[in-house]
Assembly symmetry: C2
């Protein structure tokens, strides 16, 4: 079957997904009945952003929230002097913009694709509507916002009372499971989509980030191969990071 979307003709073919099926795997919408999912899906539209393209900019009104299907998006702000700070990197399955639906404020961060990305935009009105119908949905939404709040508080802690090296170690360890590496299996962390973005996320310059990785490697804690970090001494790394 040819693609009937005229705007897509000039672009690479886009993977097609079933919206309901994808949403059903997002924690927020899991446990929803087929009816509910249908109503949400009816208010959902796919959004495609090429690498570098801006999805939302600071000051835009909020019309709903976004879920990343594939690709990667950075959230950040720009200072009056044009300096940019990355607040969060959003990966597939994660979402952003929920909080703005509930307060009447425009975006304070921008969202920019770090790779060719597909998102789903879920309209505000459908969410608000469903909140009234389904207390479970409301609870999951509260839990989601709470987790985000918790994460931000942890970020503030890192920014304000951890050193650069500690923040880097924290980042490297953040999605290493507790039991990992105990069996001697090597643990690897991927630095896509680029060290500069991660440096900004950790609130430091790319130069400083580079030096810290260098020092950790010199100490025998990690091994850097391009954008892949192999953790050599998990226990000692955990110790250094607090």
């Amino acid at each position: 079957m040819p693609d009937h979307d005229p705007t897509a003709i000039a672009r690479k073919s886009r993977p097609q997904i079933r919206i309901q099926a994808f949403l059903a795997n997002v924690p927020l919408f899991s446990e929803m009945s087929a009816d509910e999912l249908d109503r949400i899906a009816a208010a959902t539209l796919p959004v495609y952003a090429q690498k570098g393209e801006t999805v939302c900019r600071t000051g835009d009104p909020c019309t709903g929230f976004h879920v990343v299907v594939y690709g990667q998006v950075k959230l950040g702000f720009t200072s009056p002097q044009g300096i940019e700070k990355v607040v969060e990197i959003i990966r597939p399955g994660q979402s952003f913009g929920e909080a703005l639906m509930f307060i009447d404020k425009p975006y304070i961060v921008f969202a920019q694709a770090l790779a060719d990305t597909m998102l789903l935009h879920v309209c505000k009105h459908a969410v608000i509507e469903e909140l009234g119908r389904d207390p479970g949905f409301a609870r999951r939404m509260l839990a989601g916002l709470s987790r985000r709040l918790h994460g931000l508080v942890r970020d503030v802690e890192a920014y304000t009372l951890r050193s650069g090296a500690e923040r880097v170690i924290g980042y490297l360890l953040r999605d290493v499971p507790d039991g990992a590496g105990a069996d001697g299996a090597p643990v690897e962390v991927n630095l896509t989509p680029g060290k500069s973005v991660i440096a900004s996320r950790l609130n430091m310059t790319p130069e400083h980030f580079s030096r810290i990785l260098h020092d950790l490697a010199a100490g025998g804690l990690i091994k850097v191969s391009g954008r892949t970090i192999r953790i050599l001494d998990l226990a000692r790394l955990r110790g250094d990071g607090g």
Copy 2:
């Protein structure tokens, strides 16, 4: 009538309040029916903390959330080296700890009274219960968490891309209404309960904070009298702060 609470004998008399009446004025509970308020009030207990006393400490399990009735509470964390960073100052009518009710995690911040303080502790179970009954309550809770999230993102912006002076100016202006001062009426800001706490809240040392106030005063922008700041040139202050 004598006070029958034996632990209170040795203390100053405590102002008595009607729990329902107080809660009804907290935005989260406004618009609630008398029935609902009664159920919430039944799960609410007063908590008294003397100046310097700790209400919650890092690692404590969360049993509900707190509303400040009178007094003042600081939220903050302590680094492994014992350095302390204030995240937020909670004033009467404000609350904290809501987010933890919805995720199963212990406190990451501590809460300490900055003055003799009365709080209300609202039990988790009553809140969860009421969320299922009252969609409006769920919406207000979502709005509350969203506002807090928004505020934290703004804080992160300030911490990461504003200078010390800009953060101080932002603090001085944060609860000055837009129209204030236009009529020539002097605008004053109170620095209770102490400059060191505010300095920490703004992520700087007391010394640095003091110097910034001194410089602003030297520039004719403000006048410092103990813990009261009189804003002399609102327009110029706004300009300096971005």
